[in-house]
Amino acid sequence: MKGIRLLALIGAVLALGLVAGCGDDDDGGGGGGGGDQAAEGGGDTIKVGFLSDCEGAFGSFFEPTASGFNQALIDKAGAKPASKKPSEGVTGATVAGKQIQIVGYGCSDGTADKAIEETRRLVEQEGADILVGPLSGDEGIAVANYAKDHPDKTFINGIAGAQDATLKVQAPNFFRYHPDGAQWSAGLGDYAYNELGWKRAAIIGDDYSFPYTSLAGFVAEYCAIGGKITKRIWAPLGEKDYSSYISQIPDDVDGLYVGIGGSGLINFVKQYKQQRGEVDTDRMMGNVFWDDPLVLKEVGNDLVGGTTSAMTAADSDDPDVTAYIDRLRKSYGKELAGLGPSVFTYGYYTAGQALIKGLEAVNGDISDQKKLQAALAKVRLSGDEAPYGDVRLDENHQAISDVFLKRIVKDKTGDGVADVATFRRIPEVNQTFGGFFTAEAPPPDRNNPTCEKRQPPPWVGKAEEVSFGT
């Protein structure tokens, strides 16, 4: 008796699943088998899946990333925003006469497992031909690996910065049109050693993969030209109290590179100030988090004088940049436009631009995605496609592009929040740092890369001074 009832319960749940599982076949989207791909690809609709994070540490970047990708479709594919909320999608996107359908705005939580589940849902269930995303490091490596197993689909990275996703995985159908986490640090080593005269430096970072990468970019360049790293300090992931790590920072160094992210950075700055009276920013540099709007709002005034770097420059007065911000404002309002210079919005924007260019090159025909992939590998972004600087890919489908050095300066706009002044452009930063990072080298970790003097990266000494605005 009891068994029969239980059976009926399980049956009911399964039936629910049956409706759901089979329903997708009826949409014509499901399956994921290779057989019907050609027919689909030859149709009038190109299905694109969007993947970002709406949960976890980067959950707040969901709408900004969607706004970036949508804006590319609005700019170049005649799309209109469906609403002021980017994740509601766009209408009327067409490229080369083919309709672009966004089959879903996938939501991961920063973990590789969830990113893959969402990728599978978008690709295998919703029938996406092309996936744009994901957002964060571990996710990027996982999606690149997934791409390798699915050569008949095409994947364009969102803003996941892990070096391995392109350098080691080397999936032929995975493309990244923005610099990785190590590339973002390019130029800082040169500036520290040659301009600021740091002969010895210490580094401090959160003890996980992304800080390893961004610190690796600094170490590789700084040591190559003669700098010495005398101490590497790692604070456990999720640390709230940095005081014991701050006291480990040696006094006999010329400078400190800080690779602490998000809310951890805010705590770090406050505690540093308490412990040492002030944040001696003239001997400090930080990774991409330093000019994050939230960080600036909370502790920006303490960071004034510090140096940071990334592929975007918030203060840029380049006409392409101002036009890009204006277009974002028209589509999604002031708040999201204000995040236009954020690497998150911009990474997805360039991904969208590259996708459209690739599709145009094959005239919208994705019946053979190999052709699309070949076209994508040759895509170069310039002008309004990449307002912060031209982008091209290397043989691993990894972006080569400019990186900016920026200084945190006193408030210029009158909102009480410190601002950013860009002062250097590092041209043509590539992923390998001139052959230093390779697929065979040990991945960045607590002790790697080691600090050795060697052939410096090609951009050392070639930085251009820039000055925007006032």
Partner: protein, 348 residues
């Protein structure tokens, strides 16, 4: 036969397994993999929790930590991208992974077994958090961005291309776990476990070593969790610290509670419900202004969880039986002996 916490209905089990065996013929590859295979291995993990809870009265949050140890050990012992990549045979790595996780489970059990209630819950939660931080920080083991593409036994083929072999493997393992735990619950070890769930003081007075028994029950559950851990790596094709974080710990608890903490079947009922909700609520979640929308699907999951918990402490399985008007027996909290206060005075 004696009445106890649930009994096996062989015809019902047979029909369910037969229906499950036909699933790959009916459903899409995506559904077989992302819904069914995932439900089966999540169910095994939840079953290890439910076994401890239903028969031992111990609600453990350590199961994800233990399956993380098994998963990480497996991924490090075979050829993979990242981690130690020791290049062992996948089968030997599987056995080694289970042995290591069981040893860790035994060690955890020794520490936790003397605690009960909220203290047991907190200690076991600490174990999972400890395992998570260990693998987050020892990147030699967790790789840079996880351990990817581990070598799998040829038995399961390439789950990415054809999910059926892994599905059937997982199905067989799940059925064996279910039957095995059900059998153990009627064997001396399992009956004694239920005894110390109800009255540990009585068990001591009867000659049982209560602490040792709890440690070994925890270790047995660790074995089941370890099996789930290896299956999770086979299913995901990777494992990263994020695979075993606090959110996952809570998800397994939610699965167990949704299904019903008092019946083993609840593990798979809960896992299937969870997998369906997790996947489809993203499409079904209605948009209500800026408050609700597709990206707030977790709200739906939370509401469903809340409704089930409020309606039925016995989860879906308990709810079902209550709806049929046959509560009382079987599911629901293990029976409390009705206690009447002993008359204070001699009744002369």
């Amino acid at each position: 036969m004696t009445a106890s916490v649930g009994r096996t209905s062989w015809p019902a089990l047979g029909v369910v397994v037969a229906a499950a065996a036909l699933a790959p013929l009916v459903f899409t590859d995506f559904f077989v993999s992302v819904i069914l295979t995932k439900s089966l291995w999540l169910g095994v993990a939840a079953a290890s929790l439910i076994f401890l809870s239903a028969y031992g009265g111990m609600v453990s949050l350590a199961q994800v930590g233990i399956y993380g140890v098994a998963g990480m050990t497996f991924a490090n012992l075979v050829v993979a991208d990242g981690g130690a990549a020791a290049a062992w045979s996948p089968w030997i790595a599987t056995i080694a992974a289970i042995v290591v996780a069981v040893a860790v489970g035994l060690f955890f059990g020794v520490i936790a077994a003397r605690s009960v209630g909220i203290y047991f819950l907190m200690i076991t939660l600490a174990f999972s958090v400890l395992v998570y931080y260990f693998f987050s920080q020892v990147t030699q083991l967790s790789g840079f961005g996880g351990v990817n593409n581990p070598d799998l036994p040829s038995l399961v083929g390439q789950p990415g291309q054809d999910p059926a072999p892994l599905y059937y493997t997982t199905l067989v393992v799940a059925v064996l776990v279910f039957l095995g735990l059900r059998y153990v619950s009627r064997a001396p070890f399992g009956l004694a476990l239920q005894g110390l769930r109800d009255e540990p003081a009585r068990m001591r007075a009867l000659g049982f070593n209560v602490t040792r028994h709890r440690i070994l029950a925890f270790t047995l559950a660790a074995f089941i969790a370890a099996v789930a851990g290896v299956l999770s790596v086979w299913y995901n094709g990777r494992i990263a610290p994020g695979s075993i974080n606090l959110a996952q710990t809570i998800d397994i608890l939610i699965i167990a509670v949704i299904g019903g903490l008092y019946r083993l079947e609840g593990a798979w009922v809960g896992a299937l419900t969870y997998a369906l909700l997790d996947n489809y609520s993203r499409e079904w979640t209605p948009t209500v202004g800026d408050v609700l929308g597709a990206e707030r699907f977790n709200t739906i999951l939370g509401v469903v969880f809340l409704i089930i918990v409020l309606l039925s402490p016995g989860g879906l399985v308990g709810l079902w039986e209550r709806v049929r008007g046959l509560g009382g027996r079987g599911p629901g909290p293990p029976g409390e002996v009705a206690r009447e206060p002993a008359p204070a005075e001699a009744a002369k």
